[in-house]
């Protein structure tokens, strides 16, 4: 049976954190999209979605950055990001940003309509199923705020993880509570962020899972960084890495191969 997106061009929005910190998430995304039959394109003119500026109140810089993103992704049927946060920025906030600029608003709305978070795209649109992926581990999934509330990603990652052979999914207490990342929040209010991430890792550790996963690298770097600082051994991986069969590679903050 042919796949619904056979040979359809899909543009990958890599996201700045993946680009800089964990390219393997980007390659996992490419692999998953290609397994779904898509033809993956990575536009070279992309940088960041503009969220750091947007959340710091710098509206003009955000608009300039957003215009660059809109231009870079103009001609693609689908735009996919391995992050609910960056996808949410484009989908929900770009149209808000250009509310008073009718011409740009149309372009922002057009891009918003074509933009998807990776896991929900794979599950809801691409009819993706993990291909002979096996991981004999206990895994707990953290709902990142943007994935959950802006992109309505909740069941999709759980469904896909459920199809990985031997993987046991364990739900944590308060899994919908924020991990304390919040972009620049975790730097500007590090003490409050610390309190929040400690609460989060206490709930994660209580599951006795081997691996914690999520769809947003920001949250994962925050959780991994705190687990590492406190000397806990729980492994941290992006959900795309698990689905792409990279679950046995070193986790975030774990060093290199």
């Amino acid at each position: 049976m042919s796949k619904p997106l056979e040979n359809v061009e899909v543009a990958l929005f890599v996201t700045c954190l993946v680009d800089i910190n964990r390219p393997s998430v980007g390659f996992a995304a490419v692999k998953l999209l290609e397994q779904s039959g898509c033809k993956v394109v990575v536009p070279n003119a992309q940088t960041c979605c503009g969220q750091p500026a947007y959340n710091s109140g710098d509206k003009q810089s955000t608009k300039d950055i957003a215009k660059n993103v809109i231009r870079a992704f103009k001609s693609f049927r689908y735009v996919v990001a391995p992050s609910g946060s960056c996808a949410g920025m484009i989908k929900k906030h770009y149209p808000e940003l250009f509310a008073d600029d009718p011409e740009m608003l149309l372009e922002a709305q057009d891009l918003a309509a074509r933009t998807h978070e990776l896991v929900s795209f794979l599950n809801d649109i691409a009819d993706f199923e993990p291909d002979d992926v096996k991981l004999d581990k206990k895994v707990t999934y953290h709902d990142s705020c943007s994935s959950l509330r802006e992109m309505k990603v909740k069941d999709q990652p759980r469904e896909l993880l459920g199809e990985v052979d031997d993987l046991e999914l364990i739900e944590a207490e308060d899994r919908e509570a924020c991990c304390g990342f919040g972009g620049t929040f975790c730097i500007k209010y590090s003490e409050i962020s610390e309190e929040m991430v400690d609460q989060k890792i206490a709930n994660l550790l209580a599951t006795k899972a081997d691996i914690v996963t999520a769809g947003d690298l920001g949250c994962l770097m925050n959780i991994a960084g705190r687990l590492s600082r406190k000397g806990h051994k729980m492994k941290v991986l992006h959900v795309a890495e698990i689905l792409a069969g990279m679950g046995d590679k070193p986790g975030i903050a774990e060093g290199r191969d």
């Binding site: 700045c16 680009d19 940088t47 500026a53 705020c145 975790c186 209010y189």
Partner: protein, 472 residues
Amino acid sequence: MQVTSRKFKENAHEAMQDENLRAALGRVKEGFTAKRAEAAADLPEFEDLRDQARDIKDHVLENLDYYLEYFEKKVIEAGGVVHWCSNAKEAKETILKICRDVDAKTVTKGKSMITEEIGLNKFLESEGIEPIETDLGEYIIQLADEPPSHIIGPAVHKTKEQVTELFHEHHQQYGYTEREEDAEKLVGEARAVLRHKYVVADVGITGANFLVAETGSTAIVTNEGNGDLTQSLPKTHIAVASIEKVIPTLEDVSTVMRVLARSATGQEMSVYTTFSTGPKRSDDIDGPENFHVVLLDGGRSEMIGTELQELLRCIRCGACMNHCPVYHAVGGHSYGWVYPGPIGAALNPQMVGIEEARHLPNASSFCGRCEEVCPVRIPIPKILRHWREKAFEQQISPKPERWGIELWGFFAKRPWAYRLMTKVAVRVLGLMGGKNGKIKSLPMNNGWTAVRDLPAPQGATFMEQWKKQEGR
């Protein structure tokens, strides 16, 4: 009250060291959130009701002048008086004059955030009139001489042991010489002490959850019945309310009430819902002889027609703070003014100035849970962002922060420069990470590494690696 929002970080630091507070906040988090979730799940039409409640409040805000004047007309028809006050000072003086006219010595009070907002208790005390809070939580914090830390649970930051000590200190004069440790008996003790106060009070002051335009009634919801005694026993009842509390009809009140208690405490309804319409009539057995409504604008009419208008839909249920991870961490007093939590972070910059309250809209991870649970769907994160934009425009945000963002913006706007910068950055960070692949401390940016390790980049950037692979 004295505004300490400027010291939010210091306030929060102290709060997080306070073991009693942490214990008390743990209960807010578990109790209120679970109960609200159950109550919402039990009512299939809950989401529709939220839409209806939002629409009712929006309709009122679009026609506020009409409904306020209609309300006044109905209050007068029922034999009451409406006092229009544009600010806290006018409201306090109006209330004082009413008290003086009946030669009041003591005043009982039902729970009212507006009287906290205008600082009524301290003002009355300075004028020689003794205010007595009758809501148990308000009574506790009055004894402790503290402001409320939550809009529906003013003493939610106190543990039972702290209440035992407070009562022991203040109730010995009434003959309670033993330290009482049982919660139910503590409530009984407060009840017995307060019972006498209701009877001798000259004036009863309450807030109002709703001002019903259709009937000229004020309505309060309580769980203790203290509001009823406050407003029906003294000869004079003053209801103090801000202008956005007006609502067209009793039918609308019932719609909004269906989301109010469920969002607040998870109850289907509060235990008492009391409507007051004018003073005692000739055939009434009890009730006040004089009925006054003090209507406060307090900066609210300036919010109409601006990005802040949606904040005026707030029905003060407290759901946003009950679900806020920042509130759970720092408690209500850290916010430094009357309204804590997400709604306070959105509202206080308007009330006390963005320069004073700059931290509040910034101290949010934008997790969005407040908006998710708000019964009238106030887009709180959007309003917090509005304040961040104002602070950035007015250059109130700290310089290093603005420079950092501008520098990042410079690169993010120029893909070629960005590629170059990231290429260098990953190599530097990679070297710093060494074999372990993590960075323990960063010279420029210790906000991250103060509490967490920074995972070092895996190697070359994705874009570099992708470029090499292209044409696979």
